[in-house]
Amino acid sequence: MKKLTILLVVMCLLAPTLLFSAGAKEAKSDEITIAFCFQDLETEFWVAGHKAITETLRENGIKVIEKNANEDANRQLEQVKDVITQGVDGVIIIPQDGESAVTIAKVCNEAGVPIGVFNRPPSDRSAKNLVVVANNEVIAEAAVEHMAQEAKKLGRKVYPAIMVGDLGDPNAVGRRQGFMNVMAKYPDLWAQAPVEIPTKWDANVALANLQSAMQANPKIDFLFTSSDFLFPVIKSVLAPLGKWNLVGDPNHVILGGLDGDVTAARLLEEGYLDATGVQNLFYEADLMLEAMLSAIKSGEKTPDKWMDDPGFALTQANLSTKAEEMWGWVLYKEKK
């Protein structure tokens, strides 16, 4: 009986791995294999980014190894080292932050494996990598410019605020700068200096800080969020204060965001949102794939190239003509 118990225990320990290993296949020698290591899929944007990358790679006959680091930079580093050992031809990462992107890229550089950094750029250029990144400053500026034009129509000064992302992320820095460019452009439009609300890219942090900001500055009527995933948080704070209203309502808070996700698409259609900056995810995925394949085929081990997605702003003014170019709009219509 004891023997049987021991046997069962050993089998239990080994079974899960053996069971799943039956499905694991070795890559064919002539097949290009690319590892896609992402930090997590916590927002619609990253889910769509994940889909864009994996679909683009698979459509081109590339074997994709996927690794999710669950927001742990050390785990992502270990995963990248593991896939390098497996002999992948290239690595594409969505890093946890700009700093860890540098460390991971250096590991790939040492191993002679091309690395692409998708949408969240390294904090410096000390490592060589392919980087595809939206021009966050320009996109944010375009969205906030539309908001400023709407504010001018009110014929009075407005009270601006920005929900700032994690400033360790260069994307967040760029978006904040785009917002500040418009602040500097129309100094007479603002009743006070903009209120900066930290979010750390975390909905709970954003909720707590936005609530505090609205209590301290109840006149805020011009709000830009550095990411569209925070719109549900904004609604939950503004609605009880009677400030969640359609565009044109006297109590409407002029509202803008950036990403171009499904929620933003719905809010634009319903008329609650004035503008959102759009990153062209599918274009970014194509750019990354093209550059990565080119490096692999030419035998380039440490390609170094930064590629910009110029993006655009989708506003109430151009909704009818530009909406189909926004990835979130396409997904929204599919869901509908």
Partner: protein
């Protein structure tokens, strides 16, 4: 009656022969059962299991033996081993230290604040450390030759301090270790984020970054530190009075106190050792990631306790050895590496890891009940 009337078959032999065959067969079964029992109770059981696991996986994952993969396994193992050894001290006490992850985060931040050679004002100007301990020119000892040793000492001091707070609360206020260390974890994790405003501190000295680097072979600073610590911890547990007291307190605190064991001091020392080990792990992880991170190790706790449980360290206290921790960490790292090499999805990897920890905990219960039945 029926049996005795049954016609004997030619191959059945005489009743004496049958009896002999039965005895031989039951002896074989007994021998196998005894061997299995000895194997299960052996302190090398997890090592045997790991070897078996590696042998089974070798044909499935030929790259398991690739030198680069061995290097990966080892470099992943050393920091986890260091922090797991610290947890072993506390588990022997029948305690638990949930705050180890926050010690790693806090110590990596404090160490980086001492050692960094530059800091970006855009990122850090809102930090409470800005202008006091941190500036554009770096940290407290940014350009100094003493930056690395002082930085590491500061990290150790952080670990010892948090460990002391935990141990003191458990020993003198009789607070449950789970709550004390849970609160410490929340408090110091939040403090690490507050001090840096959630930013990572880079630009650490090259000498510090070299600690975790492996050049050409499997030898690295991390290996030397982890093995040295393991040997010291083994000696402390097996050859010193403190080690004996630790087991005594873990088995029965009241009885040990009546017997003259300074239980309170022992508890405080165990938590301080746990904190110190977590701080050293913070050195290894932050050197590896080349930065002080306020979120360092935040997802690592299950790996730390899981490796201990797999190794056979009992959550009930009074039982555990450093060698068991080494085996547990080795198995855990091999398991994680092999699951990665099999390219399983993240969710399946965590499901498998969770199942293995659960089975290991069940195994511990089974081993205890066999031991009791033998007494």
């Amino acid at each position: 009656m029926k049996q005795s009337l049954r016609k004997q078959r030619p191959d059945e032999g005489t009743p004496m022969m049958q009896k002999t065959a039965l005895t031989a067969s039951s002896r074989t079964i007994t021998m196998h059962a005894s061997l299995a029992k000895r194997l299960l109770l052996s302190e090398y059981f997890v090592l045997y299991l790991t070897i078996l696991y590696i042998l089974v996986l070798t044909p499935i994952i030929p790259r398991l033996w690739h030198p680069m993969n061995i290097q990966n396994i080892l470099s992943n193992m050393w920091p986890l081993l260091v922090v797991a050894i610290g947890q072993t001290f506390v588990l022997i006490l029948a305690g638990i230290d949930l705050s180890q992850t926050s010690v790693m985060a806090m110590s990596s931040v404090i160490g980086a604040v001492v050692m960094t050679s530059s800091a970006d004002p855009i990122l850090f100007s809102k930090s409470p450390l800005w202008g006091v301990l941190l500036s554009e020119q770096g940290g407290l000892l940014g350009a100094s030759a003493f930056a690395v040793p002082v930085g590491i000492l500061a990290m150790l001091a952080v670990g010892l301090f948090i460990g002391f707070l935990n141990g003191f609360s458990v020993a003198y206020f009789k607070m449950p270790p789970f709550i004390v260390t849970l609160v410490s974890m929340m408090l110091f994790s939040a403090m690490a984020i507050y001090l840096t405003k959630s930013e990572n501190i880079r630009h650490l000295p090259q000498a510090y970054l070299q600690i975790s680097k492996t050049k050409g072979s499997f030898i690295s600073g991390s290996l030397i530190i982890a093995l040295f610590l393991a040997i010291i911890a083994h000696i402390v547990l097996t050859r010193t009075l403190f080690g004996k007291r630790l087991y005594a307190v873990g088995i029965n605190t009241t009885a040990s106190e009546i017997s003259g064991v300074p239980a309170k001091t022992t508890i405080i020392a165990a938590y301080m050792l746990s904190g110190a080990c977590a701080a050293i792990a913070g050195v290894l992880y932050s050197s590896r990631l080349e930065m002080g991170r306020p979120t360092l190790g935040s997802t690592l706790f299950i790996d730390i306790v899981g490796a201990n449980i797999i190794g056979g360290i009992s959550l009930a206290g009074g039982k555990g050895k450093v060698t068991w921790t080494i085996f547990g960490v080795f198995f855990f790292i091999i398991l994680a590496n092999s699951l990665n090499m099999l390219n399983l999805s993240f969710y399946i990897i965590d499901m498998v890891k969770g199942s293995v920890i659960l089975v290991a905990a069940l195994l511990d219960v089974a081993r205890n009940s066999i031991r009791k039945s033998q007494m």
